[in-house]
Amino acid sequence: MIRVRAPFLPALLVVLAIVAALPLAVNNNSLREELFLMFMLITLASSINIIMGYTGYVSFGHIVFFGLGGYFAFYLMQNFNAHFLVAALAGAIPASAIALVIGVPILRLRGAYFALATIGINEAMRTAINNFEPFGGAVGMFFNFSVYDTYGGARNAALLAYGVMVVVALATVTTSYLIRRSKFGLSLMAIREDQDVAMVVGIDPARAKVVAYVISSFFPALAGATFFFKNGIIEPGVAFDLLRSIESLVMCVLGGTGTVAGPIVGAALYEWLRGFLITTPALANFQLFLAGLLLLVVVLFVTAGLVGWLRNRYPVLRAYIQ
């Protein structure tokens, strides 16, 4: 919190923007694809950091908003010929509205109960949509290629998706930073540390938690809309993939919850490791084992995550790395 001698946010945004521009500058498609995923992971990890890192509520099933944003947007594009940008926003709003509706009751739960409830919600949503014909049921929905004509072809659509994902990631990071440095963020962290004390100093925990939850649902919804727009196909198992949900949790913990840089570092590291391991199919499963091992090592020995560890070890860095 408080005094930052270096302009952390602008510096961070510039670095991210440069990284984003790289594949476009050298016209490297596969790099662009990788970075598309990485910026998506940054979005997911940073969003979950708001409700988990700052507020202390572990949302295991957070991916539900990714799926909802994806489905709503896809539906609008498919059935109403909505332009992607419009559909993405118009899809994120009901997703966040749902976050508001479920947030109020489930944020009353503590710790493990809350985590379990979020799993229940994701799974309930997944299995419900599995049966929901207007959304394609178990088969899901898919574009026919002509949909991309509006954007000047599939390639342009992919570029548009990339640009939007980068912007969403930057917006998420900025929001995370602003929250962290604000009075609202301080109230969240007080709630995380001791909710009863927070109440006694004048914070309304119920309201603060719900606001945090709703904000943290908005960006994954946009990310979902973008991801599935680019893919051209959406199905329940992929949209509400619990594994992906937990992965964003892992990335957040890896890099360090409660900081702005943590989720970014965690996402980048995780994705790098995954790319490193995915070289052969045999290794792909082994990758899962290594991911687990890495997570265990971090949880047991580097509890504050990499960024957290750095900040503790070298307190002088605290002002420079938020």
């Binding site: 919190m1 408080i2 440095r181 604000s182 009075k183 301080l186 109230s187 962290m189 007080a190 995380r192 540390e193 001791d194 009863d196 004390v197 927070a198 109440m199 006694v200 100093v201 004048g202 914070i203 309304d204 925990p205 409660g258 307190p315 605290r318």
Partner: protein, 249 residues
């Protein structure tokens, strides 16, 4: 009269923790709330604070009824609380802890203004050099000062101080009492739960005594300390109380 506690009863299932407790607190005074352990003093604080809802009775603060309001609502009306068993926000820095106190109270300050207030409070309590340390890393005496600091930073009209002197050495006690006196000068009302009798005698304007949830005495420190009922409550044996008083005079 800044606070009126009117026949407040708090029950936990079958246990009556506060039994029709009634007293008033004048603005700007330091009121001592004493009594043996288990007398219901902390429960009474919890009732005033909004942590427990009284089964019956009323609590009126500054002419507004606050019975049953949620803790944050009471806090926003200018009541601050320092806990007996300290509850620092462990992973936040000391200055952040105190800023939290300053931010969300009656004045609803901005982060920057709150931080300025926090710095002043830390300086007045001798914790300024520990400002960036994580609160969890302080020793107990420092945590107690932090606890008080967080309450003071809210610049409350009424401070509920629950055994803030426990575990402090004589110098620290004197320093804390000086803080309380300066609060009185600024017009802040304090109710302090204390076991340290010389502190109570020294700094309190009036004293209320509880035993088994009931008020058994009220008055100036001198009057109350020589009240046989009070002595008996602490010592348990009326004859011993009698002997003690005879020896004292």
């Amino acid at each position: 009269m800044i606070l009126q506690v009117d026949a407040v009863t708090v029950r936990f299932g079958g246990l009556v923790a506060c039994d029709a407790a009634t007293f008033a607190v004048e603005e700007g005074e330091i009121l001592g709330l004493i009594g043996p352990n288990g007398a219901g003093k902390t429960t009474l604080f919890n009732a005033i604070n909004g942590v427990h809802r009284p089964r019956s009775g009323r609590i009126v603060f500054r002419r507004e009824e606050i019975t049953g309001l949620r803790p944050f609502q009471v806090a926003r009306r200018g009541v601050a609380r320092a806990y007996q068993v300290v509850r620092p926000l462990n992973d936040l820095s000391v200055i952040a802890n105190v800023t939290v106190g300053a931010c969300f109270g009656r004045e609803n300050l901005s982060l920057r203004a709150a931080r300025t207030v926090a710095e002043e409070v830390l300086a007045s309590l001798g914790l300024a050099d520990k400002a960036e340390v994580a609160a969890g890393k302080l020793n107990v005496a420092q945590k107690k000062r932090l606890e008080l600091g967080r309450a003071l930073a809210a610049r409350p009209a009424l401070l509920l101080a629950d055994e803030v002197l426990a575990g402090l050495n004589p110098q620290e006690v004197s320093a804390m009492l000086a803080v309380f006196r300066s609060l009185r000068e600024r017009g802040v009302t304090v109710i302090m739960i204390e076991h340290l009798m010389h502190a109570v005698m020294n700094v309190c304007d009036r004293v209320v005594v509880l035993d088994y949830g009931k008020k058994i005495a009220e008055g100036s420190p001198q009057v109350v300390s020589s009240d046989p009922k009070v002595v008996e409550a602490y010592l348990g044996d009326p004859k011993a109380a009698q002997r003690f008083l005879e020896e004292a005079t």
